[in-house]
């Protein structure tokens, strides 16, 4: 059997009458770009680890998804990113939680796996480790988008909405 690649960009209240044609095109374009990145690795005989990281990095840069650029805001108006990666060959794993200045959290998770004795790092410590690993650091404003800001404003301005009521809540 040859290689396989499956991706997701979030689940939630995704219905035809709630998604504009422009949004639909943007999402499908982003998903295709992620498949392209992962496929390019696998077609050349690359590893599953390299393929999933490549695909995720594309989605982290795409503001249409809730990861990296385009991530949702916290109550305090910040972007706090989480990521994890696992290698089925060895069951090695790496994860990061609550990071805010690393452009590609998935690459930081992989660095935790490959270059630290730990599985999960969080917050300031994870960001310090990212700098030591010379991963790309960006200003916190890199991640924000107007659409996500509006979602936060809706949540804050309507006490009848819960965290689980925001549309496309998982991405």
């Amino acid at each position: 059997t040859g290689w396989t690649l499956v991706i997701h960009g979030g689940a939630g209240i995704i219905e035809r009458d709630r998604v504009t044609p422009e949004q639909e095109v943007a999402v499908r374009t982003g998903m295709n770009a992620a498949l392209d990145a992962g496929t390019a690795v696998l077609k050349q005989g690359g590893s599953a680890m390299d393929a999933v990281e490549a695909a995720i990095r594309v989605l982290e840069d795409d503001p249409n998804f809730n990861a990296g650029r385009g991530a949702v805001y916290t109550w305090d108006g910040r972007n706090e990113l989480d990521a994890s990666i696992m290698d089925g060959r060895t069951r090695d794993a790496g994860a990061v939680a609550g990071v805010g200045v690393v452009r590609h959290p998935i690459s930081l998770a992989r660095a935790v796996m490959e270059h630290s004795p730990h599985v999960m790092l969080s917050g300031k410590g994870a960001e310090e480790f990212a700098r030591e690993q010379k991963l790309e650091i960006v200003p916190p404003g890199w991640f924000g988008t107007e659409r996500r800001r509006e979602q936060l404003d809706r949540l804050r301005g309507n006490d009848k909405l819960s965290w689980f009521d925001i549309d496309l809540k998982y991405g």
């Binding site: 059997t1 040859g2 290689w3 396989t4 690649l5 499956v6 991706i7 997701h8 960009g9 979030g10 689940a11 939630g12 209240i13 995704i14 219905e15 499908r28 998903m31 295709n32 992620a34 498949l35 696998l42 077609k43 590893s47 599953a48 680890m49 393929a51 999933v52 990281e53 695909a55 995720i56 982290e60 998804f65 809730n66 991530a71 949702v72 805001y73 916290t74 706090e80 990113l81 989480d82 990521a83 994890s84 990666i85 696992m86 089925g88 060959r89 069951r91 794993a93 990061v96 939680a97 609550g98 998935i106 998770a109 996500r148 936060l152 965290w163 689980f164 925001i166 998982y170 991405g171």
Partner: protein, 135 residues
């Protein structure tokens, strides 16, 4: 949340998940995405899983590891295992979805929301990109 699972030509699998979490989250809340075994798991003996959804439920159910364990110990297909575990998540009140692939080359997904952004491709099959439940 975004995720990817893959099987390479050598037969090894991997899983990855990345997210901004929940809109308006407070108190340094962490969901399932970075929790190995909840939102992400990979094991060459079973499958690779990435999840998206109401993280608190996925953490409690140990969704990604639970699916892999069912595949490994019961011989269920990836789809059977994923549907069974997602049904249990729904019973708890949780919503979301998972994507999977395995060392045999099987690909699957399962979700209990009105839609999930999802796509797949393999060396032997054309790519599929879907958004809505009915696709």
């Amino acid at each position: 949340t975004v995720g990817a699972v893959a099987r390479d030509a050598q037969g090894h699998v991997a899983a990855a998940t990345s997210t901004g979490g929940l809109t308006g989250k407070r108190w340094d809340r962490i969901g399932d995405s970075p929790i190995i075994g909840a939102g992400t798991y990979a094991d060459d003996r079973a499958c690779a899983v990435s999840a998206t959804g109401a993280g608190e439920y996925f953490i409690r159910e140990g969704v990604a590891h639970e699916i892999c364990a069912r595949v490994r110990f019961t011989g269920e297909t990836l789809k059977q295992a994923a549907d069974a575990v997602m049904a249990e998540v729904k019973d708890l009140g949780g919503t979301g979805g998972v994507i999977l692939t395995g060392p045999t080359g099987e690909m699957a997904w399962s979700f209990n929301t009105p839609g999930m952004y999802r796509a797949k491709v393999s060396a032997d099959t054309p790519r599929i990109v879907e958004m809505y439940e009915e696709e």
